[in-house]
Subunit: 240 residues, 2 copies
């Protein structure tokens, strides 16, 4: 019942926007978000608040990723979401708190991506890592729908001015780095990398170099810096 | 005469700000900017306009580098410069045109830095490169007065939304990369690197990885990512 109500409410959303969101986050994730709310057995009112919050976070993620934190206006988010003017602070304590939710959404979605690809033990570790970075280049390179990494972007634009956001960024990057380091350790165990490999340092260097290649790809309007990153990562650094 | 007028006008600048600027850009560069105007033999009126423009560009560089392009207001720049409200467009066509001048100022100052350190042939090439990156870490790392690289920052925040700024960023990065590539070729000639070194690709990877380390150092509020960059650059990638 509650699920049907929610779905019918969602049908009232601007359909173009829903299409863009679905394309961006993937149908599976959209279905899962709705499913989570149905399973949590929320009241219709709570679900409506929750749905609107979800909707605002998705639109915020799109806009902040596309044009940056400072350039994104709270009013613009409400307008895009078709939510009444002035009601932003009903859903979020502040723009900064909103950005934290946006970041958490992005980071948990990216964690799903690395868990899926890096955890697929049907492939040898380094092949998984290559598949993973190839996918990132496809999604966040110049041919993707929104180029660049939101974590890198918020690090550059906001980290210095918001201790809460800085600490969130640090922990999201650290989780990401640990996932890559764990994979490098598997590669050592499988004999794909030498025993002397310092997995944590190498994972940090690879991740940061990928972030730098994304920055440069924006300056050049080209994926060449990302191709150069893939080349040095897999032909030089990840060699036995 | 004109030089004295200019110097006396400069003394009217907010002295704290002048101290910060001098600390940031270095006394040599401040003296040289004044010297250039004196040598160009401008009229007092032209020099006043020129001085105000210079002053606005310096303050813009500080603020955009510190808080970002979108967050920096034109009015704030005028207030900080003590220049009458509403007169910004007397000096610059638009905020975007102003940002281009700011970027050019930053890029030409950075070019002076790499020309000086990388061109010092009293040291072997790779020692010069190490000295150069050590200096960058000191200036733009977490212990520097303003952390991060303005080119990287503007690439992330603005490149996608301004073709003029994107093209300026691309050309500034390319010049920088070429300077590093030229130094790597000297290192090959001196037998410090193998003959098979692909200088352009390696220079690109080093430069982009440095940019990525700066991004991560902001997220971590730590220079550790920069130390990791220096380690992989000089202990792994730049080895014979």
């Amino acid at each position: 019942m509650a699920g049907c109500q929610l779905l019918s409410e969602m049908e009232n959303w601007d359909s173009d926007l829903a299409r863009v969101l679905t394309k961006y986050v993937g149908q599976d994730i959209m279905d899962q978000s709705i499913g989570d709310m149905v399973l949590a057995d929320l009241s219709i009112e709570d679900m409506a608040v929750q749905t609107t919050r979800e909707h605002l976070i998705e639109i915020g993620l799109q806009r902040i990723h596309k044009i940056g934190y400072a350039a994104t206006g709270v009013q613009e988010i409400l307008d895009l979401a078709g939510v009444p003017k002035g009601s932003f602070y009903h859903y979020f304590r502040s723009k900064e708190a909103f950005a934290q939710e946006v970041l958490q959404r992005y980071a948990s979605r990216e964690a799903q991506r690395w868990e899926t690809i890096l955890g697929d033990d049907k492939l040898p570790p380094l092949k998984r890592l290559r598949k993973y970075f190839n996918e990132l280049v496809k999604v966040y390179g110049q041919k993707g729908p929104i180029s660049g990494c939101l974590l890198g972007q918020m690090s550059v634009e906001v980290a210095e001015h918001s201790p809460d956001i800085q600490s969130l960024l640090s922990s999201a990057f650290d989780d990401w780095q640990q996932a890559i380091a764990a994979l490098l350790r598997s590669a050592v165990d499988r004999g794909e990398l030498p025993r002397t490999t310092k997995a944590d340092e190498l994972a940090s260097f690879l991740l940061n170099s990928y972030e730098g290649a994304l920055v440069r790809s924006k300056a050049e309007k080209s994926d060449e810096p990302l191709d150069t990153f893939i080349h040095f990562a897999f032909k030089v650094l990840l060699k036995k």
